[in-house]
Amino acid sequence: MRKVFVSLFVAILSLMLLLTGCGGGTTTPTTPPPTETTPPPPAEKIVIGLQAPITGDFSAEGQWAKQCVEVAQDLINKAGGVLGKQVEIVVVDDGSNAKDSATAAQKMISQGLKEVIASYGSSVTRPAADLYDKNKVVSVGYGCTAVSLTMETQRPYFFRTAGRDDTQSEFFAKFAVEKLGAKKIAIMHDNQDYGKGVADDAKKFLQPSIDAGTTEIVYFDAITKGQSDYSAAITKLKEIAPDLWFFTAYYNEAALLIKQAREMGFDVTFVGNNSVPTPDFEKVAGDAIKGTYMLNEPMPQFLTFPESKTFMDAYKAKYNELPGSIWAVYAADALNALCAAITKAGTTDPDKVAATMRTMTDAKGITGPLMFTDRGDRKNIPYYAYLYNNDGKLELFWPK
């Protein structure tokens, strides 16, 4: 009897592993590990890695990134591929955390990949970017916007298609002071790379107005990520009574914060940053989203380039909706940038691809021209403020 139970237990365990353990493991790479003396034999396909948070806190973003990259891959392959070869994507899950991110990067490197797309979340991307860089693998981030990623250390093989936080913080200062005329500003972050980075920069860019005496920061503190109850922090904020509340971290906490704040009758103007406006935010926060402002790089539904239309049509045809966030679209653009650079360089050699990424000026992406600075940052990313109107739909608010 006891043996039956133990075997049942083991059987359930292995079933779980089968069901969940190998998400994204369906594609196998065909490139053999390269040797140092002889160049690898020409592969049938060009294999590019996608490191994404398929599980964990950002799993929604990871799924969208995967879907977007696959749609972009289809478009590229239908147009004849890269260097006459078909593009293949290998997906590895980084579990939305830094520890698994390093493991995921090791996995990519050991498979002999030369170009990867990685990843969402600045804290998650950092250890992977270090590993890729050390092993001379070109990596392109799509949802990592912490300034320090490119400005603290120069990683010759790291790029990102997303903008940088200080662009957002600078825009926030302008929006809060010039457009909304806020006098008492509360800034709340989550003590993580990304959230704290945006918060610190926002403070920096507000400094001129603070010095001029027109604006003050009345609250600057962090909440703990991953909690369910933020009523203590909200009560404190409510007592301080700011005119404007800027939350600089992710959508999960933002949704709970705004919902609980409105439940407690706290009607302050809420500004969310670029990782907040997602379907998950709308679902959890419910009616509380109405009248909140969101800062973002152009959102999927507001993109106007010809490439965006082709991409969005293909995506809609496959999934019957638009990508849930701009970050997933940036992942598709990371693939476009890599493919453009490989085509231009005529090789997948990481040194040549990295050099081409820095100099190319004619690559067209879904989110505009794909050009990068020497540090690996994307050039020319515009910012907008959006408003959730009374129907709970986003509309462009400023600048029109």
Binding site: T20, S59, I223, T224, S231, A232, K236, K283, V284
Partner: protein, 303 residues
């Protein structure tokens, strides 16, 4: 003053969740001397069972029984479901290794924790789910500057009521005396005619059932549920258990409520960023001065 009262209410609410989960830890530890690491995940499973009842029944449950009836059904379903899950877990993961000593038991508990959380992910998916706003009442009571949702009051009353019930059951009834006797000395209690298997059955049904109900309450109150949220609640409830004295029923309740209130006050008056540091500092201090927790037994037990 208003702010202080508001913070106390906030703290008591979150603290009552910790306390309900902590009770399960403490009861199982008291009788089995086992730290049931899977307990936090049973809490999550309860939350998902309540969610499923409300989603599958969709408009029907809420339309037929009203908002309050719908919530009550979700709570009862989670209570029964998790009670059964607790019994099954004891049967397949703990009983076979019970004689092998405490270390294999703990490893088995950790394994069970993974099985449950990954199982939830396999069934309901890795994305967080949300209790829809139509399932819960929107009314609130206004006292001057303080606004308290009716739902929050109901949850607080229910949680405190459940705790009172458990307290009465364990401390005031003959059956409770049997549980306490079994916790103190299993062999002697058995010699006195106490059915130890019945006691195990009871703690493994009731402890998890409380956690499961707390899971539904957390979903109703905070909307968002995710497959891995049990970890944080498990950790906090475990802390509360240690704070109150592990194996001690009133200790677990007071520990949970105290933890919630301390968190709220520290976050409200000092800094949210340092909250967890502060909580664990307090825990360390308590353990230095009272190694068995605030309400723990006088004699420290060697593990």
């Amino acid at each position: 003053m208003d702010t202080l009262i508001q913070q106390l209410i906030n703290g008591l609410t979150i603290g009552s969740f910790y306390a309900l989960v902590a009770l399960g830890y403490s009861m199982v530890y008291g009788v089995m001397k086992l730290i049931n690491f899977a307990h936090g995940d049973l809490f999550t499973l309860g939350s998902y069972i309540g969610y499923t009842v409300l989603v599958v029944g969709a408009s029907w449950v809420t339309a037929t029984f009203g908002i309050w009836g719908g919530m009550a059904i979700a709570l009862v379903a989670a209570m029964i479901g998790i009670g059964v899950a607790g019994l099954v877990m004891e049967r397949i993961a703990y009983r076979p290794v019970y004689k092998a000593g405490r270390l294999p038991l703990v490893v088995s508990a950790l394994g069970m924790s993974f099985v449950i959380s990954q199982g939830i992910m396999a069934i309901w998916g890795p994305n967080p789910q949300a209790y829809l706003s139509g399932w819960t009442p929107k009314d609130f009571l206004q006292f001057g500057n303080i606004r308290v949702p009716v739902l929050q009051i109901a949850i607080l009353v229910l949680a405190l009521g459940l705790m009172a019930l458990i307290y009465w059951l364990v401390e005031r009834t003959t059956f409770g005396a049997a549980i306490r006797a079994a916790a103190q000395d299993r062999d002697t209690a058995t010699l006195m005619g106490i059915n130890f298997n019945l006691i195990i059955f009871f703690v493994f049904a009731l402890g998890p059932a409380l956690g499961g109900m707390a899971g539904v309450m957390q979903g109703l109150k905070y909307t968002r549920i995710s497959f891995n949220m049990g970890w944080l609640y498990g950790l906090k409830a475990f802390t509360a258990t240690i704070l109150g004295g592990i194996g001690n029923i009133p200790g677990a309740m007071i520990g949970g409520l105290l933890l919630g209130v301390m968190e709220a006050l520290f976050e409200g008056y000092v800094s949210g960023a340092w909250k967890d540091v502060f909580i664990f500092l307090i825990l360390i201090l308590v353990l230095i001065w009272r190694p068995t927790g605030l309400f723990g037994e006088k004699t420290a037990e060697k593990v």
